[in-house]
């Protein structure tokens, strides 16, 4: 616990000290847990534009975006090394997004997986490389809101 608290009491304010690989998360639905994903879709793609009204609302209340930032933090930790907790944390939130109807499911494909790509600049070229593919999970019946 001390290891978690000390960096908060004596923080380092090194915001954007270097721009490293940035995560992108894509999800895919599968017929069974051994099937090869054939249709990756971006998890929470960016909107084209945000209106002033939505911008003001997001300034006050933006739980989904802050959750996405947390998911990205988990993905960045997975760049550094495997962690069961981080893998499950991302999957748990993808399942919650499915159960609340945010993501449409193909009923013929009851399994879901996700992959993490690292976007980085090499010279003048921006490249993307898949660094992690999660273990597929069976999409269970929707759970009560807030307990996914």
């Amino acid at each position: 616990m001390l290891k978690l608290i000390l960096p908060v009491i004596f923080p380092s304010w090194r915001f954007f000290s270097s721009i490293g690989p940035s995560p992108r998360i894509h999800i895919a639905f599968l017929q069974n847990e051994n099937a090869e994903p054939d249709n990756w879709q971006a998890f929470r793609p960016l909107p084209a534009k945000i209106s002033l009204k939505n911008g003001l609302r997001r300034l006050l209340h933006n739980p989904e975006w802050n959750e996405t930032l947390f998911i990205n933090t988990c993905a960045e930790r997975l760049f550094e090394g495997y962690s069961v907790m981080r893998e499950q944390e991302i999957m748990r939130r993808i399942l919650a997004a499915i159960h609340c109807g945010e993501i449409k499911v193909d009923k013929a494909k009851p399994y879901v997986t996700y992959r993490i790509s690292a976007v980085m600049r090499e010279g003048q070229v921006i490249g993307q490389q898949v660094t992690f593919v999660a273990t597929p999970v069976l999409i269970s019946a929707p759970q009560q809101k807030g307990t996914a």
């Binding site: 945000i50 802050n66 930032l69």
Partner: protein
Amino acid sequence: MLLEQAVRYSEIILALAYAQQSLEFIRGLQPERTWGVIGLLLSFLLLIGFQPVLVEAGLLIVACVLLYRFHGPYNGGSDCMSILVLLCLFLSHIAPSAFWQQIALGYLAFQLTFSYFQSGYIKITNAEWRSGQALTDVLAITAYPVSEHARHWAQSPRLMLVMSWAVIVFELLFPLSLLNHYVLIASLVIASIFHLANACLFGLNRFFWIWPAAYPIILWFQSRIVLT
């Protein structure tokens, strides 16, 4: 500004910031949903000034539970500043003497100043920040921009260069604003606009609410060092 006034103003802004964070957790998953409800209740008690020592101790417990739950901060720097403000205010209440009370609040004023200065220092020592390339990459590559439209800003290298240097100069010069009350107020207004821009471009809304919670303390600190 008197110390007691600064602490109270700071607690009011902190209560609003914690209420904002708690309401977001309430919209999330369990168990943070439950902790969000507890946090919201405690924020209300802090807002009305009911037993601040006990309420702040309660909020510190909630913060520690969430740190443990997420294996670190949920929202990076904004969580660090939230806990830091909360801890320093709590310590100022339980301090055994006026001296230690001022040390607790002085530490918060130092961390607020340092949050800008260190951030500017690491940028000016980085060639990519000095050329504007780093800000271009933040907008073009990272997952932070809130919309595809915001990413387009990366296509204006001259704008990126100007914005990078504006941020670097402001952050590095921030400690000098402690020399004059009115310059400090102007700097805090600029800092708030900076956090607002970060909230609009990168969706960092929690930073916008929590950093000002430390502003009354730095205003008290500035009047304290000038008197000294």
